[in-house]
């Protein structure tokens, strides 16, 4: 069955530069910002490639890496290029990720002027020691200024990224960070559990035994308390790691990833999806630049998803979101009647308080989201 494609696609642009690598991060980025002009040139070329294939978008997301390493005029030029090439709906959600060390109030105002209407600030923590531990290049003061500046600049859709379950962090310490974040009444919060990645500086410290790995019970405690507290404070826990002040504040762009809406990812390592096909660019910036300079597609790989694979994805993605799985829609789109195939397991999960089956939907409850990977094994 071919997935429906009535929804408009999302556009993602990956800016693969960081001034320095954070100690926990294993995402792809390079620190040689001298490559930025060449990168933009290549990116423009890549934009042209998709002129025909993708006509309209209703979300645009500038992520990274660190998009706030670009100069304002470069952002402006990039947006102009995108607008010239594609149709971006007037009501589109246009998001940019910002490192608190980079832009000040006036810069942020300028971004607004360019039509960027959603800002996501990589705060990560509001505790000085934790920021040092994470290897962030901003301090607590800069994080707070960034939040104030974003508000002062007139952004009405502000998101904050936070990380919890840090080495030595207590529930009380995390609560403190959350309280301070809520003082700014952000529209959106992404609260990520620290993933300890082998090979990263922080991962190595764990491997050396400098920090104990968190227990499952503690991890659960962090997760449940975060969810309870933020929901109590008026946020909707709409996805495992994401909270929004009302569903209209949930990231429209990210939601496309979760329900097989088409998306186009540009820049090194970006992924795209359309008509049951997913493809992804080389992560290496050099390779990306080289390919485009020689008029080659910078695509590293692609796959045609079988119906079974789409079904598997829809299950695990759906079970990560509060909205859950629309049983009727799932049956029509992927050809699987979940209640018929997995009824006993789903009912058992229902009895265990992990999910609820109601109104034609299967929805994870809070305790279910805590074990979303386990639910995904359905």
């Amino acid at each position: 069955m071919i997935p429906e494609e009535t929804a408009l696609a999302g556009l993602y642009i990956h800016v693969p530069f960081c001034k320095s690598r954070c100690f926990y991060c294993d995402f792809y980025s390079v620190t040689d910002t001298g490559l930025i002009p060449r990168f933009l040139k290549a990116l423009f070329k890549e934009i042209d490639v998709y002129r025909e294939e993708f006509s309209g978008f209703d979300t645009l997301y500038l992520g990274g890496g660190t998009p706030s390493l670009l100069a304002l005029h470069q952002i402006e030029a990039l947006l102009e290029k995108v607008h010239k090439t594609f149709t971006i709906l007037g009501a589109a959600e246009i998001t940019i990720e910002v490192n608190p060390a980079d832009w000040k109030k006036n810069d942020l105002k300028a971004l607004q002027g360019m039509g960027i209407n959603r800002i996501n600030i990589g705060v990560q923590s509001l505790n000085e020691n934790e920021l040092t531990l994470l290897g962030r290049r901003h301090n607590r003061g800069q994080a707070i200024s960034a939040l104030e500046d974003a508000q002062a600049a007139g952004f009405t859709n502000i998101g904050i990224d936070l990380i919890y379950d840090l080495p030595g962090q207590t529930l009380a310490g995390w609560q403190e960070t959350l309280n301070q974040a809520l003082d700014f009444a952000p529209d959106h919060l992404s609260c990520y559990e620290l993933e300890i990645k082998p090979g990263t500086p922080l991962g190595q410290r764990y491997e050396l035994g400098e920090f104990p790995y968190p227990s499952q019970d503690l991890m659960r405690e962090f997760f449940m308390r975060t969810s309870e507290f933020l929901e109590f404070s008026g946020y909707i826990h709409y996805e495992v790691s994401n909270f929004a002040k009302g569903m209209e504040r949930a990231s429209r762009h990210n939601r496309k990833y979760w329900d097989h809406t088409p998306y186009l990812g540009l820049g090194p390592s970006a992924h795209s999806f359309k008509a049951g096909r997913r493809w992804w660019n080389h992560s290496s910036v050099r390779q990306y630049l080289d390919d485009l300079a020689k008029d080659r597609m910078p695509v590293e790989g692609s796959e045609e998803l079988t119906n079974e694979q789409l079904h598997t994805e829809a299950l695990f993605l759906g079970l990560r979101t509060k909205q859950g799985i629309d049983l009727e829609r799932h049956k029509l789109r992927y050809g699987h009647d979940l209640m018929q195939e997995k009824g006993p397991v789903l009912e058992q999960w229902g009895r265990e308080g992990l999910i609820e089956i109601e109104g034609g939907f299967v929805r994870p409850k809070r305790a279910g989201m805590a074990v979303a990977d386990g639910l995904a094994q359905l």
């Binding site: 992924h271 979303a372 990977d373």
Partner: protein
């Protein structure tokens, strides 16, 4: 015959037996470096990985000695585990001498002694060889002292070598020629040949390895297997070099192979005597024993669709393993499968691993059991090797279980520990003596059921690897037996049931619940595990629900990575059997038997 030497290498595990065999093969030029594969004699993957030899093999090495004559040195490789001790004894019966290999760093170990005694039983020339002299930790002087004091051998007879570095190999070959006696036998007498191994060749059928004691055999002869009482016509005889080398005939003193249109290895018994039909020898060679399985377990496919594949694979596997037996079986919890018999737990492990590896099957083995004997109220006698067929307490007049006689050797200092282990295993001490001042021999009679479980591991552990043992089945003895059932979330899992001694039932139940708690991974909800005897719950454990998994990010648009991870996890889950709503891993079924004392 004067120019033949039949010998074997015996050693404690990892003392370098296979490496030395490879060296001898390379040195005598049977195979050159180009075709040299590490440890050529151990050619099954499992053998190589576990570092043990499972089947006996033989290879003929042509060697020109310093006296200018060319000798045929027949190297007979032997298995190294108690499950296969009968095969070892038949291999040694085919030799005149052995190289007793001792690691220069580790010194004399349990199997060194056990193997020495086996060799002595067969009256073989023993050449002590100290290996690994190149190691920095080598202590040759100490090993020489041990050869004298612990083994009671003349320390002046030792040789030294490094099989790895190829040092001392020539001296070993010369010593084989000079010290191992040439085989004796009468080529003109009626044929008598000892079968010490057989393996299956998909083109030629069963290839029989044998030692000719008297007479000769050539293609076209009609041969008689004396124990099996079967008749075959010889198609081909020859020697093994790296491959089969066809010969006109095999005669007294030689080691070689016979191909005679024998369909499966099960048609051949290790230890049987081959003679000629028209001119038979007076009596078979001594030492024949029929090998019977003593441990039984059921094998089920994890996915019931694989049943036919499993049936085919067992049929094929059986072609090359005469000791393995099987028949159809079914379980309420696990569906259609097969009841199988094994020589011991190692044999069982090997069969399981080969089925999975060579036939790509995912299988579950039920809890292993011995064969019990029940006399029912109505007087009928019933043998039960499958707890699912337990007749029920009220129907039973008398219960009996098989007993063994175990002979154990160990340095004196471990006697106390071994005795208490044997008592714990319901053993009865029969004998104790000191063959040499520091070494003790203990003889116990014990229920076989106690021995198959974890006795081997526990014995090795309490003697710190210095003990060795061997056992023989003796008889059935009356015993108070009950059926211990295991319930997972209230559902009885028949494949986990065991027949146990009444006095041990509670301990076993507790142990099974504890082990299952460790083996069954946390799942999405709480799982109760209970042990029960006739409906009465005697033990219980709980596996708490999965609490949290790493779910932080779903990387931008990279859903592919997440899906692939999930597909991999789901594949891993295929190695588990769903019983009711609980996934039970393969390992759980064997684990219930293992105690947690190690």
């Amino acid at each position: 015959m004067e120019y033949i030497r039949n010998f074997s290498i015996i050693a404690h595990i990892d003392h370098g037996k296979s490496t030395l065999a490879d060296r001898l093969i390379l040195r005598t030029g049977v195979c050159d470096v180009r075709t040299y594969k590490d440890q050529m004699l151990d050619n099954m993957d499992i053998e190589r990985e576990r570092g043990i030899t499972i089947k006996s093999q033989a290879i003929t090495l042509p060697y020109q000695a310093k006296d200018g004559k060319t000798y045929s040195l027949n190297l007979i490789d032997t298995p190294g585990h108690v499950d296969f001790s009968y095969e070892v004894s038949r291999s040694l019966a085919s030799c005149e001498g052995v190289l007793l290999l001792i690691d220069a760093a580790q010194g004399v170990q349990a199997q060194t002694v056990a193997n020495l005694y086996l060799a002595m039983e067969h009256d073989l020339e023993i050449i002590p060889v100290i290996n690994k002299i190149d190691l920095p930790s080598a202590d040759v002087e100490r090993v020489i002292e041990q050869i004298d004091a612990e083994l009671g051998l003349d320390p002046d007879t030792h040789l030294t070598c490094s099989a790895k570095e190829g040092i001392g190999i020539d001296d070993i070959l010369e010593a084989i020629v000079r010290r191992v006696s040439a085989p004796r036998g009468d080529a003109e007498a009626p044929l008598s040949a000892l079968i010490f191994d057989a393996h299956y060749d998909s083109f030629r059928g069963t290839v029989i390895n044998c030692r000719i004691f008297d007479g000769k055999v050539r293609s076209g002869d009609t041969i008689h297997f004396m124990f099996n009482d079967s008749i075959y016509r010889v198609e081909e005889v020859g020697h093994f070099l790296m491959t089969r080398q066809k010969r006109e005939q095999l005669e007294a003193g030689e080691v070689g192979y016979i191909i005679a249109g024998v369909k499966t290895v099960s048609d051949v018994s290790i230890g049987d005597t081959i003679t000629l039909e028209d001119r038979p020898c007076a009596k078979p060679l001594s030492g024949f024993k029929e090998v019977k399985p003593v441990v039984f377990a059921s094998i089920y496919p994890i996915a019931s669709d694989d049943y036919e594949d499993l049936a085919d694979s067992l049929e094929k596997y059986k072609l090359n393993d005469a000791a393995f037996i099987y028949e159809k079986d079914s379980s309420v919890a696990l569906g259609q499968g097969f009841r199988c018999g094994f020589l011991g737990l190692l044999h069982l492990d090997i069969v399981q691993e080969r089925l999975e590896r060579e036939y790509d099957l995912s299988i579950i083995l039920s809890v292993p059991s011995v064969r019990y004997r029940f006399t029912l109220q109505d007087g009928t006698e019933l043998y039960v090797d499958n707890p699912a067929h337990y007749p029920g307490a009220s129907a039973i007049e008398k219960s009996e279980e098989p007993y063994i006689r175990a002979a154990m050797m160990m340095p004196e200092r471990y006697v106390g520990a071994v005795m208490s282990l044997c008592m714990e295993k319901r053993g009865i001490q029969k004998n104790m003596n000191y063959p040499s001042p520091s070494r003790a021999e203990l003889v116990f009679e014990m229920p076989l059921a106690e021995v198959i479980y974890d006795f081997y591991d526990r014995f090795k552990s309490v003697t710190q690897g210095y003990g060795s043992y061997d056992y023989d089945l003796i008889d059935y003895r009356e015993s108070k037996l009950v059926l211990l059932d295991i319930l997972v979330n209230g559902e009885k899992v028949d494949a986990l049931s065991q027949i146990v001694h009444r006095d041990r039932a509670r301990a076993r139940g507790v142990q099974a619940c504890d082990r299952l708690k460790d083996e069954i991974p946390r799942q999405m909800y709480k799982i109760a595990i209970q042990g029960a005897i006739g409906g009465e719950i005697i033990s219980r454990s709980t596996i708490s629900a999965y609490r949290k998994d790493v779910t932080a990010k779903c990387y931008g648009g990279d859903i592919t990575r997440k899906r692939k991870l999930l597909e991999k996890q789901k594949k891993g889950k295929k190695r588990m059997k769903m019983i009711g709503s609980v996934s039970i891993p393969q390992s759980a079924f064997l684990a219930v038997l293992k105690s947690d004392k190690d």
